[in-house]
Amino acid sequence: MKGALIRDLHVAELRSAAERLMDSGGRMQMVYAWNPPDETPELRYVATPADSQTFEVWRCKVTQEPPSLATIWPLLGWYEREVMDLNGIRFHDHPEPNRLVLPQHVPPPLAPPGRDTAWLESPPNGTGIRTLPEVPTEDVQALPFGPVRADVLESAEFTFLYIGEHILHYHPHLFFKHRGMEARFQGVDLVRGTILAERVSAVGTVAHALAYCQAVEHAADCIVPPRACWLRVLLAELERVYNHLHYLGHLANTTTLKVGDAQGKLLEERGKQINTRLTGSRFLRSLLIPGGLRRDLQPKPWLSEELEALRAETAKYVDHLENSESHLDRLITTGVLSPKVAFDQGATGPVQRASAADRDLRRDHPYAGYAELPLTIPTRQEGDAYARSRVRIEEIDASIAMMQRVLLLLPDGDIRAPCAPPPMAEGLGWTESPRGTLFYAVHFGSDARLARVKIKSPSFSNWRVFPFTVHDTNMMDYAINEASFGLTISGCAR
């Protein structure tokens, strides 16, 4: 697979390979399945070996029931369950083999045609999506909340088991919004694929489209012209800034800091209006394409001035937030995520960096123009809601500084190179989205159209982690804790 090193593994070798990766200080990213034409289905594990800039992809033919690796890499639990639901491939000894994405009566939509082996049947214990513990006493209340919730929010159902204010157990059901987006890519050409990638998660338009484009470019051995690379950085950082400003406003909303909420949302609106003036789209859509950009951008001096004004305004706003004890009191020590849980369950992005991990794909696996730009990667040790907000605050500053540098040094030249992947090509692409690690794995068919696209979104990872910070906390902190994670449901459910 282009963009990564391929290793062929037999089903029987999976466990030992996973253990070796763990022992050597590497990192597991995800697993997905696909059906090569007229062949045995394949599992693809994406891993980061220790101290390596190159990702490893383990290719494993599903010749017998594969073992679940979730006991070694807990973060794989959800990926394996998704593979069971969507591809109909069962994992041996899965610790929680319930349905995750689709209800029981829906047959696996991405199962290989004409499957006939017994181990490809639907999961044995998949009786339902909700996995609630047995409650031995009547004092415990069960509160199901959603999927239609108060205010303008994405649909999801949260179940709380609680006594008084105390939450004993929390379970989110996040796949009411599952649209089957990965399947929508099948059979489309690479240009239309970009339009789809832009619409997986709107507030991650650039991150998704860029990861997709880079996957296709890897598959095609396409070199993107420098000017396009630098402009891609500009777009990606504009996206980060308006997302983080929204986050700060929303966090102030949950601590009932009304003016702080309004100020944050107003700054977000300024960010979106800057996006519109520069690109014609509030979400920075209709610009990316495999090979470069669809049209050139001519950032005029106003952009640099606007960004500087936004930076100054944000600094003042943050100063006010930092001087609001009622706000800080609610954030400090709320929703603590330990570095161990963050690593085991696969936390990513600002959430992980607030729990002592110094990891950012822009620096560790550079893409677009990031290799040539000085990067500041803020991290914190505490792992609480305050740490998560601090990481984002410092990222806004770093992003604006980086954009100013791009505007200063932007090279002239072409913005698009020809990009035509050969038949059966495959590639891996990645970005550090505002919410963390995002992967696209693309497989082309013999007709140069997309045969399989796998999307690993940062919210899928962070939603998996989030409940660990909710169990055994209290109701009053819940909304603040959820806001401090900065999650989207569309990215998670796809």
Partner: protein, 264 residues
Amino acid sequence: MALWTLIGLAKGKATTPWPTHGDATGQEGLIGMPRYNPDLCEAGCSACAEICPTEAIKTRPDGVALEIDYGRCVVCQLCTEACPTDALTQSSDWAFGVRRREDLRWVEQSIAEARERDPQRNAFRRSLHIRHVDAGSCNGCESELQALNNPFYNQHRLGLFFTPSPRFADLLLVTGPVTHAMEEPLRATYDAMPQPRWVMATGTCAVSGGVAGGGYACSSGLDGILPVDVYLPGCPPNPAAIIEALLMFLGRAPQRVKGGRIGQ
């Protein structure tokens, strides 16, 4: 200690005077729905129809003009780039809220139509309580709906409110193509609303399914699931477009689009 009340007051007024005065919609530079000029359309050319990802554009058997359904358009601009003759061009047209689905389909002769008056609806002219349901959107429509409440648009000054309970709602505002899992909660929300009640399909997904509609997990928009009173395509519709559509529904603004064209 930050004195937020004073900080807020010192900021002054952030809200745009639009739509009451002026035209500061906040959408400067926005690229909207492609505009069609049939006079420049080359017979036999189908570049736009071939590239359109949602089949919003089709060639007609007579080959003279195109069939364009703005209810399917996701504003991706591929057609404006593919068109060799500038028959389809970029525009700043975004006020696409309409009462009837067919108003979104381009026709050669724009239809002159008397403004509909609904006496029941007139009683709701001054204020409107909206229950929003996300039926599988990409979060773009939500992001813009949430923006209505920011100080720049400040929806409350226009008498527009989101309400947590469907019992208090006059209008059900739906986003997303309606995933199978969301169909039942959506119907339950509608059933819980008191009459009279109305439904607005917001965003191209809710109007026609958009890029996500169909497939194993989704319907193709609201039609056939709930009766729709207002259609607002866009991917996503911007906050000003949502305000325009809501005011149009209330009879406080004109419907700008008829026969798939704006302001003619």
